[in-house]
């Protein structure tokens, strides 16, 4: 079970959280082309490596936040708030949870 560090509550077990998929996907307005809309809906990076992803502390504070996780190892590189820029993963190499 993953150990996830909610930026508001601290490290908690994975069962307290719900997964929110890839982060930093901007929802476009209805004025975009159909292709752009389809890409927003369905196209994801499927990263092998460090992925920015969303989590919600559903059974805690209820807040959404972002995390950088290495999908090969499940190692978390960083946790950060919604709206923050994606941190540089390499700087935190070897530090995760």
């Amino acid at each position: 079970m993953l150990l996830i560090e909610c930026p508001y509550c601290g490290p908690r077990a994975e069962i307290e959280f719900s997964y929110g998929g890839e982060a930093h996907i901007d929802r476009p307005g209805p004025e975009v082309s159909e292709e752009e809309w389809a890409s927003f809906l369905y196209l994801r990076e499927n990263t092998k490596g460090v992925l920015a992803e969303r989590w919600r502390h559903a059974h805690g504070c209820g807040r959404f936040f972002n995390a950088l996780r290495d999908t090969r190892t499940d190692e978390f590189k960083a946790f950060y708030e919604m709206g923050e820029k994606r941190p540089d993963a390499e700087k935190k190499e070897g530090e995760g949870a």
Partner: protein
């Protein structure tokens, strides 16, 4: 013969506490501290089971959790546990154990014919043979095969025992309490960090308990163990867990332990769980899992009386049991020589030590020779003879090129084998650790892991005792942070591990087409099975494993993996590191299902959500159904009524007078804040700006892909406050989705979301008499048709209790949903019930609710919709706001594909026969008889007998359905002619809506 194999002066069993237990119905004597295996061996009995496939007589090959052969059933009735390893089951007074997989008895077993048939039962036999005729597998072959093969029988009664679950945190978890684990735990513990040390055995010490040779700091190894454990016990920050196996290594250092608490006791203390699962989150983990001696693969190597050399040593040194009288030792490494020396000292006649190597010459070999033990270099066992017990072996010379010459047969009742030691990598691999192949040792060793884990001692190929202790201490100290004193011990006497070891099948004379040389004892997989699999084209070790089933038994291939790998490697002429190992999966050793289930069974399996009128419903004879976690009243049968009769009566009463229904399970969310209306506008497909305070609107939620996600009535309580309802099952999902958009997309909005499902109890009062019943109860609130039309909302009190009163209807009748604080709902319910009696107020359940709404063509999200239906598909296109600049789903709903005329659309369906009720899920096709493969025009989503229409009705999703009113379709059946149906408008009852507005 009783006790003749028990030696005085040896062993750690408590001779002052004799114990009698039953094995296959007959009493067996042993001592406290014995296992079933050691007690039977003390009686000279090696035969303890029959093998899985060939029913070969089998005895223990090991003395621990790696045992593949001696599987027994323990306990009686509901407490019977099958497939336990006799080598681990501790005896106690009154223990009842049985052998398995034999018919009628262990010595006379009819299944042995499988051995005679073994030339015809090669690898993949079942795949190849039982393919025909079609249908025979389920009815004939499988039951026969299952009866003839397999393991013990599971009990059929519920498990009467309790099991515990415990979460724990520590700085350092040490798995395994042999020399490395003890050293690690002490080194870490002395720094003051929190340490948990666990070991699967009843005593700490591991191999040291069987080691009478080594001296540490001048004392015997077992004495050092006692001293070290005493030191650990003094440390308050160290938790010691015996009989506790680390069986699963999960992500982020979450390690699961299985602690066995009562099975070894003659009578368990009241209230103590039988087993306990520990979920340990450790900052650092030290794996001190040790290593397992490898069996050698030769013809007849499974005969009872053929054991691992280290196992025989354990039976002697821990249990005081000599495994036989006259032994041949077959080895490829030095460790077996120490065993030979000790066993000879104890009175065993060693016929010879046969060594596969040409020049064994280490100190211990010289010592053996000096003690007069005959050493035969360059020698192999061609074949072992015997049936219930090994009686003789043919020892044959091996030349440098591997050719085996003619040998001579020597008699013996015991063969001790040693192919060297395989590090236990299971937990390291579960921790997603890499493996590196060590050419010198001929085994895989743990490499890097992504987890905070390190291995110490022989599980990483460190074998000499002094090195093991140092390795353990360093691992423990480093895991604890590296600050502190490294404990140092001096090993004053020990054997140096020599070169050697062997993996694969021993060389033999002749092709051995008929030879049964076992690689995986438990699954009866032989060397020729593995070779055959490779010849048939299975080159990946994972494929060989599945085709032959080697390594797939409950022992997880502990003794067989490396031998199977070596055989594949040799057959393919490919280096072992190019062949690889199969995946190690949890559990390391089998874990009782009860332990996994823990408290989560019976009433504790899931939380049960009770609606506020649940007690009333029970008192009024309701039949219940589970809806998610909710228990809901389905219908209220009167004497002699079945469901149809009860539902028909309930529905008629709702339409004739009034019905009362507990609707509290509806999901409810309060949306509050200055931007609440804007939030609603963006979230729902409907427009909300113009909805006045005190009014309600039916709202539909889509996902951004344009498909319906949830629905429900929304009331505007105040300008900045919406009382949102969702479906019963959708409440959590809708709130999560609301939070998602609010927190991540619309940070500009000033809105709060609160789940109020549990706060408000909801009484649905529906029917033409509803107003008459309710009006006197609402403390003067004007609920007349003029003051409170359909889809209006008022706040007030009911008998002094705060109330949000919605005039809404899911039945098509005049109706109200009375929202009151759920803790007081029962009072209100009782008052409404009493007031309704003169009018014939009738309770109704979810079944009638479904029928009533279907008569009105109201959709249920998740029943009519399946995640691919748009609002337009289900007849709710009117709800889509045309003027909002954006909302969830807007872009998608404008896409041509989501507006195609041939999409599945919601329609009503009537059968020609008014009494025939269609099955939900039935397909609808164009003609009564279709040539397969035929595609369907649609399918039935809801189907009931309608009391209002006195005929069957159904709702369906049909391609282009709304433009096909009056069309004929057919619902095919498996066992009868297709049912002819006509497409109609889905509003079957009161289409003009006069009643709901009454």
């Amino acid at each position: 013969m009783s006790k003749t194999f028990r030696l005085s002066g040896y062993g750690r069993v408590d001779r002052s506490r004799p114990v009698t237990f039953l094995f296959d119905g007959k009493p067996v004597k042993g001592y406290a501290g014995d296992t079933v295996a050691s007690a039977l061996l003390a009686d000279g009995r090696h035969l303890m089971g029959r093998s899985f496939k060939y029913h070969r007589p089998r005895g223990p090959v090991s003395a621990g959790s790696d045992e593949p052969n001696a599987l027994i059933g323990v306990g009686e009735g509901a407490r019977h546990t099958p497939n336990l390893r006799a080598t681990q089951v501790e005896v106690h007074e009154g223990l009842v154990a049985i052998s398995q997989n034999r018919l009628p008895s262990l010595r006379f077993d009819v299944g042995i014919v499988n051995t005679l048939a073994s030339p015809f039962l090669p690898a993949g036999f079942y795949y190849k043979t039982f393919m025909w005729p079609h249908g025979f597998w389920d009815k004939v072959y499988e039951p026969l095969i299952r009866r003839a093969s397999g393991l013990g029988k599971a009990p059929t009664a519920p498990d009467p025992d309790e099991y515990g679950l415990h979460y724990a945190h520590c700085d350092v978890l040490v798995a395994g309490a042999g020399p490395a684990g003890l050293a690690a735990a002490l080194a870490a513990g002395k720094t003051g960090v929190r340490v948990i040390l666990c070991d699967e055995n009843p005593e700490f010490g591991g191999a040291l308990l069987s080691d009478s040779h080594s001296l540490i700091d001048g004392v015997a190894a077992a004495q050092w163990v006692a001293r070290t454990v005493a030191e650990l016990e003094k440390l308050p920050n160290v938790q010691l867990l015996t009989r506790c196996s680390a069986f699963n290594y999960g992500p982020h250092n979450m390690v699961a332990l299985n602690q066995r608490l009562t099975d070894h006791l003659a009578s368990a203390p009241v209230g103590m769980p039988r087993e306990r699962i520990w979920q340990v989150r450790a900052k650092e983990v030290v794996l001190a899992a040790g290593s397992l001696e490898r069996p050698l693969v030769f013809e007849g190597n499974d005969r009872p009386g053929i054991l691992l050399a280290s196992a025989a040593r354990t039976y002697l040194q821990r249990y005081g049991v000599l495994c036989g009288r006259k032994a041949v030792v077959m080895t490829a490494d030095d460790a077996a020589y120490r065993v030979a020396i000790e066993m000879a000292e104890a009175g065993l006649k060693i016929v010879a030590v046969a060594d596969l190597r040409a020049n064994p010459d280490s100190a211990v070999v010289a010592e053996a020779r000096a003690r007069g033990i005959k050493v035969l270099p360059s020698t192999t066992i061609q074949r072992a003879h015997g049936h219930y017990r090994v009686g003789a072996v043919e020892l044959a010379p091996v030349s440098a090129d591997g050719a085996v010459g003619k040998g001579r047969t020597v008699s013996c009742d015991l063969v001790l084998m040693s192919g060297g030691f395989t590090p236990s990598l299971h937990l390291h691999c579960q921790a997603r650790g890499a493996l590196t192949y060590d050419d010198k040792l001929g085994v895989y060793l743990p490499g890097d892991s992504v987890e905070h884990v390190r291995s110490a001692g022989s599980c990483r190929g460190v074998y000499a005792l002094d090195a093991v202790l140092r390795d353990g201490a360093e691992a423990g100290l480093n895991a604890a942070g590296g600050e502190g004193d490294l404990p140092v011990w001096t090993v004053t006497r020990q054997d140096q591990p020599g070169e050697g070891g062997f993996a694969g099948a021993l060389p033999r004379r002749g092709p051995g087409h008929l030879a049964l040389a076992f690689v995986d004892f438990q699954n009866d997989v032989t060397a020729k099975d593995v070779k055959l699999a490779v010849r048939e084209g299975f080159q990946s070790i994972e494929h060989v494993k599945r085709y032959t089933t080697t390594g797939m038994a409950t022992d997880q291939g502990k003794s067989s993996n490396v031998n199977a790998l070596a055989i594949v490697s040799k057959t393919l002429q490919r280096a072992p590191q190019k062949v690889g190992l199969t995946t190690y999966r949890p559990p390391y050793t089998p874990v009782t299902f009860g332990a996994f289930a823990s408290h989560a069974r019976g009433d504790q399996f899931d939380p049960l959500r009770l609606a506020p009128a649940d007690g009333w419903a029970r008192a009024h004879g309701a039949v219940f159904e589970d809806v998610g976690l909710w228990r809901r009243a389905r219908y209220f049968p009167r004497a002699g009524e079945d469901m149809l009769a009860a539902v028909t009566r309930e529905c008629r009463m709702v339409r004739k007078t009034a019905g009362i229904f507990d609707a509290s399970t509806l999901g409810k969310i309060e949306v509050v804040g200055p931007d609440a209306a804007e939030f609603m506008n963006r979230f729902y497909i409907n427009g909300w700006t113009k909805l006045g305070v005190g009014k309600c609107r039916y709202g539909l939620v889509c996902r951004d892909n344009g498909f319906v996600y949830d629905d429900g009535v929304v009331g505007r309580v105040a300008k900045d406050r919406f009382h949102v309802t969702t479906t019963t099952g959708g409440a959590a999902g809708v709130l999560n989705m609301m939070e998602d958009y609010l927190q991540t997309e619309w940070a500009d909005l000033d809105v709060w979301l609160t789940s109020i499902t549990e706060e408000w109890g909801v009484i649905a009062l529906q029917g033409p008499k509803a107003r008459e019943i309710l009006a006197p109860l609402v403390d003067g609130l004007d609920i007349s048709a003029e003051a409170m039309p359909h889809m209006f909302l008022k706040e007030g009190t009911i008998g002094g209790i705060p109330m949000r009163l919605f005039r809404v209807s899911f039945t098509g009748e005049l109706g109200y949903e009375i929202n009151v604080p759920s803790g007081r709902m029962r009072e209100v319910w009782d008052r409404v019930w009493a007031a309704g009696q003169p009018h014939g107020l009738t309770p109704y359940g979810t079944e009638s609710m479904h029928v009533l709404r279907a008569e009105k063509g109201y959709l249920i999200v998740g029943q009519e919709t399946d995640g691919t239906a748009t609002p337009g598909d289900v007849g709710c296109g009117w709800a889509i706001s045309k003027i909002k600049p954006d909302f969830i789903g807007k872009k998608a709903l404008a896409l041509p594909a989501l507006n195609a005329p041939d999409r599945l659309q919601m329609v009503g369906v009537l059968t020609d026969d008014p009494h025939y009720v269609l099955e939900e899920g039935m397909q609808l096709v164009a003609a009564p008889q279709m040539q397969a493969p035929a595609s369907a025009d649609g399918h039935i989503t809801s189907s009931y007998f309608s009391p209002a229409l006195n005929r069957s009705i159904a709702i369906a999703m049909v391609k282009g359905g709304r433009s096909r009113m009056g069309a004929t379709l057919y619902a095919p059946r498996l066992d009868a002619a297709a049912v002819r149906v006509t497409l109609v408008d889905p509003v079957f009852y009161d289409p003009e809506g006069a009643r709901v507005n009454g």
